[in-house]
Symmetry: D2
Subunit: 361 residues, 4 copies
């Protein structure tokens, strides 16, 4: 009995489709409010596949993005570092091409990108919104950046504090920056935060980026509040790749890193305001009032008192309601509690100052 | 060195207050949509404390209610069954009095109630909205019900299938029912569902109740989707004890039991409609469309296809987004998928029929 | 400034090594007792990588095996089904070669294998203990099996109930079986159990296999008691590839599938006996005794009473201690409770009968 | 129809028994090795019920102890602080009496105890192994301690750093200590560690105690490695109340507090040695070896390198296996890695020094 190989292909395809479908069906949304008239999109612009030094097929990155509530991803395989090329011949544009059909089906915006990879300094640079990656495969870094720029790409410096012994802002960075060949900078990458990069972003008006740089398959425990994926929140006019590019160019981002939000104060202030819902006091006794505070966001908000009223420390866990008891004076119409949000960083070591206003009428 | 005992009291009180506060701070809201112009309140009208055969101080029931996202509770200690009375002398009104201050602070509506406790048949009956429980301590059951009625109480039959060998609707139940001394009936209690009670509630227009009947401390694992507290959803004009009473009297309830919703179809249909958000198709290829369905409720919705289109089974997990791929015809303006929601019970063994309408234009 | 690409390679390699190391460090052991003088090895003989239709690099399968407490794996990429071959040119022996160094480092026994893939019937067959996979790439199935046999391979039939419309034992299976070209059969594969295969294994003395057939990255939630990887327990003289082969050849296996153990009664009985530790009664009152039962295994043991004493149902959760109260007679020296272990299947629908003996002296 | 109240009691009792049984069945053992010929018992000697300022019935403390893997508990209600006495009339011996039957059934050793409660200073003192608590109800603290001593009780100072403004070792403590009326001291209580108490315990040879001081119901999340109950490990000749008393008197204890072990070095060293199992190297390549290290205990062991070999930091998670890669020299017969266990405290801020010896032959 001889059985043709070809006949079985359809059967296997159907089974695979079903299995993939089953596995990928459930998506947990990450709660961040839209702010200032913009949509808040959850983005990861730095990840790898077997087409450079990652260990997953490109479709896995889309499945993970769906499952973890991401809106936008860019697969950014190394151009120059191709350790699997013996088995997976170099083909810069393939990870995007392979991931694209699934991204469309799962409504993940997929941005074509790549990582320009050089010894540190100058280090690595991600390039987003490419049409063709091949022209970036050049010997000279500046040539590669220019090739990207010719495609109107968005370029950012990756993990600028990666190698402590060689870290710093060098002439090559000034050259890129002054030639408008570096538009953003990672202030966080995976499990690392770069204090200097945070400072540089503020001083030089670079767009703040935070990404996973994931090489292995994503673990599910990395989707908890305590241990989430490092990501970039992008405040975009709409949920399109073009609007994301505009937002990146204009610096409308914040970074979510290990339960901290890092960003410019106007964005963090708006996120705080839209996330935190203060009830009306539901009970009064003697000179105290009781009020609920609901945190609609995915961040555990941690605050230290800077004023004279309210508890010294106030924690507002993510997606939960907190009970606040607070002293008050006879006849007051309003209670204003002044705090600094310790894990909303508007500069290195500098939390966001906020007021909690409780209406007593 | 002699040290006064009295001086230390304030210190201990302060410590206790802090500890209690710390433990009770976080509340996880249970997501059910408001429907039909009513607020959907999460209620548990059946629970015990050390004042009958429970094992917790009344304040614990308030702390648990806060933590688990309940809006309304009634502590319903047995009147006639007082196994702790050697150590906790009988005092019917005390569990309410002790729980009240904390309930006010935590914004839990606390309904004064009690459980009239007789051998089965006739069984046990909960009485809500009492002013004084003492008059219900009578030998004759009907006298107790009349004493409750004199206080305009709401009376319901508890766990009507509790003792399989004696279960059934007896003359005494008819007597109570016809004299308007029985207004509701538990169709679920703790881990049990009572099929006959469900049927009787529909036939006799009794308000459907579902409660925990908790005696021990609540375990945290009972707050997951899979293993939540059995509770009554009450559709009330506003979040007040009076509005809850009106809703109970008018039968505006549903029961949440082991990831099933049990209730009249008009309420379950409204909950479904307000919980399930169907996106616009975000992708089309060949003759298929892809669309997301978000379930904003706390119930894992499980559906079986009754029409000709869509997957045979469709699961919409709680607080998550599901991806649906569906075949469609050229030029169709709308896709209507007919399903029955297996775990929304509008009668015993009868799920709620629903249509999922997808706009293709 | 020009920077050489080559200089950076060492740096990247060091970082990768650190990251891989960090991610792969922790292993949770799966608790099954050694029995009958054999070591109980946890094995998965069916899985895929990018070298056929899987979505991970071969090293990922080793990392997962380490993390999930497996002792032995075989990567069994399809020979005839190579959907990625445009990007990953066919090379049958490569997934083994790539996985081998990590397997050695992590002390995972890696068996070279492959999946012979034909339309159903006859279906798919896994081949283990190959030296070279290339000779199996033949048009005729029997030729492939003979090529495997020439390498003294172990051959088993995969997911025999996969396609319901075509399932069954056909002439081709008789031909393979009678020519000693089929030594085992999957009674479970991923989320499926095959009742007929279970029966055939018993009747024809085929080795019972249970494997994951995983194509995607392993999810962490699949490592819980409720939702573990489907695997084969092999009872081997020692922890070596050769001893595993001997055990497979002699049929010394059991299958762990969805919290059920499937296997011959002598093995299941031994696992039960070595897993369940019954204490001495620690308390007596009136005519009852209290005793603890500890389950050292990873299976939640579920038992139904077949005798006259003990609770009707007895659950012994995995890695936990259960309290048993039991009536007893005056002066008895021993209490023997007869049960059937519902989830230890010695044949389709047939649980393992056991006695729990409690020493009362 | 009149129905007797009395007839229903048996029914309710049966139901309660079943429910209690169901809830209390599963016990998760806490893994600590027996050491130095002693049994390692998990103990909590400080907890409250409704008979002082706790919020649970005494039986709950036994159920929690069973569930959480404790061997020994003492309910230590305040003698002088009786905030519930209006509802629960003072009766010092009742919490023990009520808890005793369940403790026998669940094989929990229940020690009769109480808390002598004074303003700080001198503070609170727990007294264990009482026969009658009534004689301790005296105005003068020394009189109470003497009444305890007359019953050969074991007395220890509770939470000595509780009130920061009044903390310290005062004359009254010297008086108790010199008269042998204070035998132990809590170095940890609930969420607090007392550095000075740790130092005093070492200097004055006081038995180190660590307890929960729990007032509310125990939450399940407090049974994880990260967030376990604060407890005292007692190294006793056997699992009896008498042997525990002997061990307490001789200072054979250690404290488990927030994933730290606190105790004398001879005990911590023995726990480390019996918990950590180092394999033989399973792989060598170039000048490196790979070896597994299994941690059989419930503590995540965290180590810092003090020698020249091995990784700078080495984490050995609880109940897990860790992979260690280590450089080695040609021809060496043994590899000795010197570390300090950061979370095994043999004095304030002083970790336990250990050597990991790897046999290379």
């Amino acid at each position: 009995m001889k059985i043709s190989r070809n006949a079985m292909l359809f059967t296997i395809l159907v089974q695979l489709l079903l299995a993939t479908f089953a596995a990928g069906q459930i998506r947990r949304e990450v709660n961040f409010p839209d702010i200032l008239g913009y949509k808040t999109l959850k983005c990861d612009f730095h990840m790898h596949t077997v087409f450079s030094d990652g260990t997953v097929w490109p479709t896995v990155r889309v499945d993970e993005a769906w499952r973890e509530g991401l809106d936008v991803i860019s697969i950014t395989d190394h151009i120059e570092y191709q350790p699997h090329k013996q088995d997976v011949p170099t083909n810069f544009n393939r990870s995007y091409e392979i991931a694209r059909p699934g991204a469309r089906e799962k409504n993940i915006l997929l941005i074509k990108g790549a990582e320009i990879t050089r010894e540190t300094p100058p280090g690595h640079f991600n390039v987003l919104y490419l049409e063709d990656i091949d022209p970036l495969d050049t010997e000279d870094l500046i040539d590669a950046a220019k090739a990207a720029d010719a495609q109107k790409a968005f370029i950012f410096w990756n993990h600028p504090g990666w190698k402590p012994e060689h870290k710093g802002w060098f002439d090559i960075h000034t050259q890129l920056y002054e030639n408008k060949l570096m538009h953003g900078i990672e202030v966080a990458n995976g499990g690392s935060y770069y204090r200097e990069a945070h400072q540089w972003a503020l001083e030089k008006n670079l767009t703040m980026m935070g990404n996973s740089d994931i090489h292995q398959p994503a673990l599910e425990r990395q989707t908890t509040t305590e241990n989430h994926r490092t990501m970039t929140l992008v405040f975009a006019r709409e949920r399109t790749a073009e609007a994301v590019k505009e937002a990146l160019t204009e610096g409308r981002t914040a970074v979510w890193f290990q339960n901290q939000l890092i960003g410019r104060s106007r964005y963090l202030e708006a996120i705080f305001r839209e996330s935190i819902e203060i009830g009306k006091p539901h009970h009064r006794a003697r000179s105290a009032i009781w009020v609920t505070i609901r945190n609609h966001s995915a961040v555990d908000v941690e605050m230290d008192r800077t004023g004279s009223q309210g508890p010294a420390k106030l924690a507002l866990p993510a997606n939960a309601t907190t009970l606040l008891k607070c002293g008050t004076e006879e006849g007051a119409e309003q209670l204003k509690l002044s705090y600094v949000v310790r894990n909303f960083l508007i500069a290195p070591d500098k939390g966001l100052p906020v007021d909690l206003t409780i209406d007593l009428r």
